[in-house]
C-alpha cells in the first residue's frame, strides 16, 4: 500500500540509483574523447610516445600505438579516431540501457501513484472527498501524476550525469596541469552559485505564476457559465477589467521571473569563456617555449571541449529544473491526498450481529456538522427508530438535511455526537461491507455507468440471473421500455446514462437497487421525474415486500403520506414524527407543505 510518494520511490530505489550510474559510463567516454584527441595531437609532435611529458597523454598515446598500425602521423590519427568512434558507439549503447531503465522506472512510478490515488479516492468518506473537491482529485489523477512521472524521468537522467561531468572535468584538469585545475575549480564554484541563486528565485516565482494561471482558468470558466447573467446585468466591461488585472499580474510575474532566469545562459557562457582566456594566459610562458608549445595547445583544445560540455549540461539542467520543481509541487499535492486516513473504515474486528427485537436503525441523539470546528450543527439531536419491514418517510425543505440522514445510514459520514445503532449494534462497530450489502440505495442523481443495462445490474448483484434482472425491471416499472429495445437488457448505457430520459434513468436505478434484494431500500428523492401514477405503482409494489424496510425521502407529500412513520425535518431538526393524519393536525410545517401541493378547488 502506497501512502506516500516516497513509498513508491523506495520500492524502485535500485532502478532510480542504478540508471544514473550506468549513465556515468557514457560520461566517462565523453570525458575521454578530448583526451584522446590531445594524445593524437601530441603524437604528431613527439614521434615516440614515451617522450610525451604528460602522464595521461603518454598513456593514451602508447595505447594508440599498441594497435601496431605504424608510426606515421596518418596511422596515429586514424587509429585514435577509430578508438574514439568505438567509444562513442559503446557509450551510446550503454546510455540507451540507462535511458530504458529511466523511462521504465518513471512510468512505473507514475502508474503506481495513479493507482494509489484512485484506490485512496475509493476509500475516502464523502466528507473528506468534499473537502478536497472532485475537481482537485481529478487533477491529481490526470495531471499531477504525469507531472511527477516526467520530473522523475528528468531527475534520473540528469541526476548523476551533470555533477559527474563537472567533477570529472575538474579532476582531469588538475591532472593535465595544476594551474588549469585551479582555474577550473573557480568555474565549478561560480556555476554552482549562479545556478543555486537563479533556481531558488525562479522556482518560487514559478509557483506564484501557477497560482495566477489557476485564477485565469477559474475566471474564464466562471464567465462562460454565467454568460447570460453577465449580459443581462451589463457587467461585461467590469468583468473584462477584472480579468485584465489578472493577466497583467501574470505578465508582471512572468517577466520578473524571467529577468532572473535569463541570467543563467549568459552568465554560464561568461564564466566558461573567461576561464578559457585565463587558462590560455596562465600557459603563456609554455606557449612561447617551442618544446612545450604543441603540448600546451593540445591541452587548451581539450579544455575547450570540457567547457563546452559543461555549458551544455548546465543549460540542459536549467531547462529541466522547472519541470522538476513542478514535479515536486505535484508530489506535495499527491502526498496530501495519499496521507489521509479515511475516517470511515472498518474497525479492527467489525461485527455482523443481529440483536433480536432491536429496531433495524435507531438514531440516538445524533448531531452532525460539516465544518471541522463543529460550531454549526447541520443535523441536531435526531432521535428516532425504524423497525424491520416498516415504511419510513422523510420530508423537508431544500437543505433541511434529508439526504444527510441517508448518508449517515449508509455511513458515508460518521456522526459527531450521539450514536446510530444498526440492528442493535453501534454502526461504527458493524462491518461496513455487510451494512452496505444490506442496503439498496437509489439516490437523487440516478447514477448509471457506461456499459449495458445488464452490466449495471450485475454491479449491484454479480450473481443475478437474466430472469432476476427482468423481474427487478418489472418491479421498477422499467420493463416496458427496456423490452422495446431489440437487445433488451443488453442495451447500451452511455456515459452518465445520457441516452435515457430522466424518468427512465430513475426507474433503471430503482430496479438496480431491487435486484440486490436488499433488506433496506432507500429511495432518496428518486421518483421526482416520474408521473404520480408510475410513482404510485412502484410504491405499491415495494410495499408488498413485507420483510423489506423502506426509507423514502421526498419533497412530495403524496409520495410519503402512506408511510408508517413520517419524519419532518426543518433546518436540521426534527419538527414532526408520526403518521400523516397526526402530522396534519400537529405539525404546521407539514400542513403548509401539504397545502402547497394539494390544492383544494
Amino acid at each position: 500500500m502506497i501512502n506516500k510518494v516516497s513509498d513508491s520511490y523506495r520500492k524502485h530505489i535500485l532502478s532510480i540509483t542504478l540508471s544514473p550510474f550506468i549513465k556515468i559510463v557514457e560520461s566517462v567516454f565523453d570525458l575521454l574523447i578530448p583526451l584522446f584527441m590531445k594524445a593524437v595531437i601530441d603524437l604528431g609532435q613527439f614521434e615516440d610516445p614515451s617522450l610525451i611529458p604528460n602522464t595521461i597523454s603518454r598513456g593514451l598515446a602508447t595505447f594508440i600505438r599498441s594497435f601496431g598500425f605504424g608510426t606515421k602521423p596518418l596511422a596515429d590519427a586514424l587509429t585514435g579516431g577509430i578508438i574514439i568512434l568505438i567509444m562513442g558507439i559503446v557509450g551510446f549503447a550503454i546510455t540507451m540501457i540507462a535511458q530504458y531503465i529511466a523511462a521504465r522506472t518513471s512510468v512505473i512510478i507514475g502508474t503506481e501513484i495513479r493507482g494509489a490515488l484512485y484506490e485512496k479516492t475509493l476509500s475516502l468518506s464523502k466528507k473528506e472527498r468534499e473537502k478536497i473537491g472532485n475537481g482537485r482529485i481529478l487533477t491529481l489523477i490526470n495531471s499531477d501524476s504525469y507531472q511527477l512521472q516526467h520530473g522523475m524521468l528528468l531527475f534520473i537522467r540528469l541526476f548523476a550525469r551533470v555533477p559527474f561531468i563537472l567533477i570529472g572535468a575538474l579532476v582531469i584538469s588538475y591532472i593535465l596541469d595544476w594551474r588549469i585545475g585551479i582555474a577550473f575549480t573557480g568555474v565549478a564554484i561560480c556555476i554552482l552559485l549562479v545556478n543555486v541563486f537563479v533556481l531558488r528565485k525562479s522556482s518560487k516565482g514559478y509557483i506564484e505564476i501557477q497560482k495566477d494561471l489557476d485564477t485565469i482558468s477559474n475566471n474564464t470558466s466562471d464567465i462562460t457559465e454565467g454568460a447570460r447573467v453577465i449580459r443581462a446585468s451589463n457587467n461585461e466591461q467590469s468583468e473584462n477589467k477584472k480579468f485584465s488585472e489578472k493577466t497583467q499580474s501574470y505578465q508582471n510575474k512572468a517577466v520578473e521571473v524571467n529577468k532572473v532566469n535569463a541570467l543563467i545562459n549568459p552568465l554560464t557562457f561568461a564564466i566558461t569563456s573567461i576561464v578559457l582566456i585565463v587558462i590560455i594566459y596562465l600557459l603563456k610562458d609554455s606557449l612561447f617555449n617551442s618544446a612545450e608549445r604543441v603540448m600546451v595547445a593540445s591541452t587548451v583544445i581539450a579544455e575547450m571541449s570540457y567547457l563546452a560540455q559543461i555549458f551544455f549540461v548546465t543549460v540542459q539542467l536549467t531547462q529541466s529544473v522547472i519541470e522538476i520543481v513542478k514535479a515536486s509541487v505535484a508530489r506535495r499535492r499527491i502526498d496530501e491526498l495519499l496521507s489521509i486516513t479515511p475516517s470511515v473504515a472498518n474497525k479492527n474486528s467489525p461485527v455482523i450481529n443481529i440483536i433480536n427485537n432491536e429496531p433495524v436503525i435507531r438514531f440516538e441523539h445524533v448531531s452532525f456538522s460539516f465544518d471541522d470546528k463543529k460550531e454549526k450543527c447541520f443535523l441536531e439531536d435526531l432521535d428516532f427508530q425504524i423497525r424491520k419491514g416498516e415504511t419510513f418517510g422523510i420530508i423537508g425543505g431544500t437543505g433541511s438535511g434529508k439526504s444527510t440522514i441517508i448518508n449517515l445510514i449508509e455511513r458515508f459520514f460518521d456522526v459527531d455526537k450521539g450514536t446510530i445503532f444498526y440492528k442493535g449494534t453501534p454502526i461504527r462497530d458493524y462491518d461496513l461491507n455487510a451494512l452496505r450489502n444490506d442496503i439498496g440505495l437509489v439516490n437523487q442523481k440516478s447514477s448509471l455507468f457506461k456499459g449495458t443495462i445488464k452490466s449495471n445490474y450485475l454491479m449491484a448483484n454479480p450473481n443475478a440471473t437474466d430472469e432476476e434482472i427482468l423481474k427487478a425491471l418489472k418491479e421498477a416499472e422499467a420493463y416496458e421500455f427496456v423490452n422495446k429495445y431489440e437487445d433488451k437488457i443488453n442495451h447500451a448505457v452511455n456515459e452518465g446514462g445520457s441516452n435515457f430520459s430522466g424518468g427512465q434513468k430513475q426507474r433503471l436505478c430503482i430496479g438496480r437497487a431491487l435486484v440486490k434484494h436488499p433488506e433496506i431500500l432507500i429511495l432518496d428523492d428518486s421518483t421526482s421525474a416520474l408521473d404520480l401514477l408510475t410513482d404510485k405503482k412502484i410504491r405499491e409494489t415495494v410495499s408488498s415486500f413485507k420483510d423489506m424496510t423502506k426509507i423514502i425521502v421526498s419533497q412530495r407529500v403524496a409520495t410519503i403520506q402512506n408511510a408508517d412513520f413520517i419524519l419532518v425535518l426543518e433546518g436540521g431538526k426534527v419538527v414532526g414524527l408520526g403518521k400523516h393524519e397526526f402530522l396534519l393536525k400537529n405539525c404546521p410545517i407539514y400542513k403548509e407543505t401539504y397545502d402547497s401541493q394539494i390544492r383544494k378547488e
Binding site: 523511462a103 443581462a232 493577466t247 408521473d531 412530495r556
Partner: protein, 572 residues
C-alpha cells in the same frame, strides 16, 4: 483577419523591441563566435604583444556579448508575454461580446482551453521560435564565414556532415510521435474512467463495488504503463543519438585537421594552411555549427503546437461581435408587446410562430406549457439574446432594436433555471447585480429568498467561499440567484423555472415575498409546477411555439382546455 495578420497585429506595437532584439542577437552572436577565432590566433601567436591583444579583445567581446545576450532574452520574453496578455484579454472580451447565439454553439471547456493551454502553447512557441530563429540564423551564417576564414576544406566537410544529426533527430521524433499519440489516447481513457467513478462515487461505495472499480482502473493503467514506457524510451533516443552523431563529426574533423598540420607546405593550398591554433578554432566552430540545427528540430514541435493553437485563437477572435444598433435609452419599462413574432433556432424547424402578446406594467404574467413549447425562447428574445426572424418586440412602443441593450437589460432582473454562482463569497454573489448595496441589504434579500436558513449553517455564513461546482445544491443556488434579483429590485422580473429545485413550501413563501416587492411592477414567470402561478393576472398556455390559451386560472379551468389537462395531470 487571417492568422498572419493577427500575429502582426499583436507584434506591431512591439516593433521597437523586436528591432532591438534583432540587433542585440546579431551583436552577441558575433561577439560569442569571435571567441574561438581569437583564442586560436592567440595560440598561434609568436610574440607576447600579439598574444596579449588577442586575449584582451576576446575578454572585452565576452563582456559585451553577455550583456547583449541577457537583454536579448529579456526583451524576447517581454514581447511574448505582452503578446499573450493582449491575446488573453482579447479572447476574454470576445467571450463577453459575441452574440449568445454564437456563444451557445461553443463548448465551455474549449473557451477555457483557449485561455490556458492554447495561450501557453502560443507563448512558448513564440519565445522559442524568436530565440532560436534569430540566434540560430545568425550563428549559422557567421560560423560558416568564420570556418571559411580558418580553413575552407574543413569548412566544406562540416557543412556536408552536419545535416546527419538533424536527420537522426527528426527520424527519432517521428517514431516516438506515434507512441505519444497512442499514449494520450490511453490517458484520455483513464481520465474518463476516473471522472465517471468520481461523479457516481456514492453508488460505487454503496454497492461495495470499490474493488471491481479499482481492478478495472488498474487494467487500463497497466496498458498505459506499457505504452508509456515505449513512448518515453523512444523519445529518449533523441539526445544520445544526436550526441553520437555530433561526436562522430567532431572526431572526423579533428582527425582530418590533425592530419593536415604536417602536410601544410606539401599541399600548398591557399587558405588551407593548418596550425594548432586553427585546429582549436575549428573544433569549436564544429560544435557551434551543429547546435542551431538541433535546436531547430527541438522547437519544430513547439512551433507546430503554437501554430495550431494560434489558429484556434484567431478563429475565435474572428467571430462577429454582438450587434448593438439601438440608440435610445429607456428608464423604465411600461409596456412590453410581442407583435407577430416568429423565430427558430434552426432554419427548417419553426419554433415560435406568429406570437403576439402585450404585458402591461404591474402585471404578473405566467407562461406555462410542456417541454419544448418555446417558453424559454420568449425570454431569450425579450432579453435580446436572440432576435426574432420576423415580427417585432416593442418596449414602451419602441422597437427593441432601437433601444440600447444596456438600458433594456438594466430594467430587467432575471433568474434562470441554470443558476450561476461564481467563485467568491456568498455575499459577493448576492451583491453581483447591485455592487453598491450594503451587507445588511444583501442579508435582507437573502431572508426574503429564504436562503438565510441554509446560509447560516455554512461554516463561514455569508462569507463562505463558494464556486459554481462545489458546496451548494441546485436548490440552494437557485435561492441565491433569487436573492440577487430581490436585492436589485428591478422594474421587470423574469423567473424562468427559477424555483424548480426548491421545495414546494419554500417556493410558496418565496413567491409571496416576490408578490410583495413586485406590487406595481411587472413579473413574467415560467413554471413547470403550476402551484405558484394561481395568482397570475394572466396565464399564457403555450404549445408547439404558439399560444394555445390565455386567461387567468379560473377562466382557464372553466374552459377545460389544455391548461385544465396540464393542471389535473399534476394534481390528481
Amino acid at each position: 483577419m487571417d492568422a498572419k495578420k493577427r500575429l502582426l497585429h499583436y507584434l506591431k506595437p512591439m516593433k521597437k523591441s523586436l528591432i532591438c532584439s534583432f540587433a542585440f542577437a546579431f551583436i552577441y552572436v558575433c561577439c560569442y563566435l569571435a571567441q574561438p577565432f581569437l583564442l586560436g590566433k592567440s595560440l598561434d601567436s609568436t610574440n607576447g604583444n600579439e598574444f596579449n591583444i588577442y586575449l584582451i579583445v576576446s575578454l572585452v567581446l565576452v563582456v559585451i556579448g553577455v550583456i547583449f545576450d541577457y537583454f536579448f532574452e529579456v526583451i524576447v520574453m517581454n514581447v511574448s508575454q505582452k503578446a499573450i496578455k493582449n491575446a488573453r484579454n482579447d479572447i476574454f472580451e470576445k467571450i463577453n461580446s459575441i452574440s449568445i447565439k454564437d456563444f451557445d454553439l461553443k463548448a465551455h471547456g474549449d473557451m477555457v482551453q483557449l485561455e490556458i493551454r492554447d495561450m501557453e502553447n502560443y507563448a512558448a512557441g513564440m519565445f522559442a521560435v524568436f530565440k532560436t530563429l534569430m540566434q540560430g540564423v545568425f550563428t549559422i551564417i557567421i560560423t560558416i564565414v568564420m570556418m571559411f576564414m580558418v580553413n575552407w576544406i574543413l569548412a566544406i566537410g562540416v557543412i556536408i556532415l552536419t545535416p546527419l544529426s538533424v536527420l537522426m533527430s527528426s527520424f527519432v521524433s517521428k517514431f516516438s510521435h506515434k507512441h505519444f499519440k497512442k499514449q494520450s489516447e490511453l490517458q484520455a481513457g483513464i481520465s474518463s474512467i476516473s471522472l465517471e467513478t468520481l461523479n457516481n462515487i456514492d453508488i460505487v461505495q454503496s454497492l461495495n463495488y470499490e474493488k471491481e472499480a479499482l481492478d478495472k482502473f488498474l487494467v487500463k493503467n497497466e496498458e498505459l504503463k506499457k505504452e508509456g514506457v515505449v513512448a518515453q524510451f523512444s523519445a529518449s533516443w533523441v539526445n544520445p543519438s544526436t550526441r553520437l552523431v555530433n561526436n562522430t563529426i567532431y572526431v572526423i574533423i579533428g582527425v582530418s585537421g590533425i592530419i593536415m598540420i604536417p602536410f601544410n607546405l606539401e599541399l600548398g593550398l591557399v587558405m588551407a594552411i593548418m596550425s594548432i591554433g586553427k585546429l582549436s578554432s575549428f573544433l569549436s566552430y564544429t560544435t557551434q555549427y551543429s547546435k542551431p540545427f538541433n535546436e531547430v528540430s527541438n522547437v519544430a514541435s513547439e512551433f507546430e503546437n503554437a501554430r495550431a493553437s494560434f489558429k484556434r485563437i484567431n478563429d475565435f477572435l474572428n467571430l462577429e461581435n454582438d450587434i448593438n444598433e439601438g440608440k435610445q435609452e429607456i428608464n423604465n419599462i411600461e409596456k412590453i408587446e410581442f407583435r407577430n413574432m416568429s423565430f427558430s433556432y434552426e432554419k427548417n424547424k419553426k419554433l415560435i410562430e406568429d406570437f403576439s402578446m402585450t404585458i402591461n406594467k404591474g402585471h404578473k404574467v405566467a407562461i406555462v406549457g410542456p417541454t419544448g413549447a418555446g417558453k424559454t425562447t420568449i425570454i431569450n428574445l425579450l432579453m435580446r439574446f436572440y432576435d426574432p426572424q420576423s415580427g417585432d418586440i416593442l418596449v414602451n412602443d419602441i422597437s427593441n432594436k432601437e433601444i440600447t441593450k444596456e438600458s433594456l437589460r438594466k430594467n430587467i432582473g432575471m433568474v434562470l433555471q441554470d443558476t450561476w454562482i461564481f467563485s467568491g463569497t456568498i455575499l459577493d454573489n448576492v451583491r453581483y447585480l447591485k455592487q453598491e448595496s450594503t451587507e445588511q441589504e444583501a442579508i435582507e434579500a437573502c431572508k426574503k429568498a429564504h436562503a438565510n436558513i441554509f446560509i447560516e449553517t455554512l461554516p463561514d455564513g455569508y462569507h463562505t467561499y463558494v464556486t459554481n461546482r462545489s458546496g451548494l445544491s441546485e436548490g440552494q443556488k437557485q435561492m441565491i440567484a433569487i436573492a440577487r434579483v430581490m436585492l436589485l429590485n428591478p422594474n421587470v422580473v423574469i423567473l424562468d423555472e427559477a424555483t424548480s429545485n426548491i421545495d414546494t413550501r419554500s417556493e410558496i413563501l418565496i413567491s409571496r415575498a416576490f408578490d410583495e416587492i413586485m406590487k406595481e411592477k411587472t413579473s413574467i414567470v415560467i413554471a413547470h409546477r403550476l402551484s405558484t402561478i394561481g395568482q397570475a393576472d394572466s396565464i399564457i398556455v403555450m404549445k408547439d411555439g404558439k399560444i394555445e390559451e390565455i386567461g387567468n386560472h379560473k377562466e382557464l379551468m372553466k374552459k377545460q382546455g389544455f391548461y385544465y389537462t396540464l393542471y389535473s395531470s399534476q394534481y390528481k
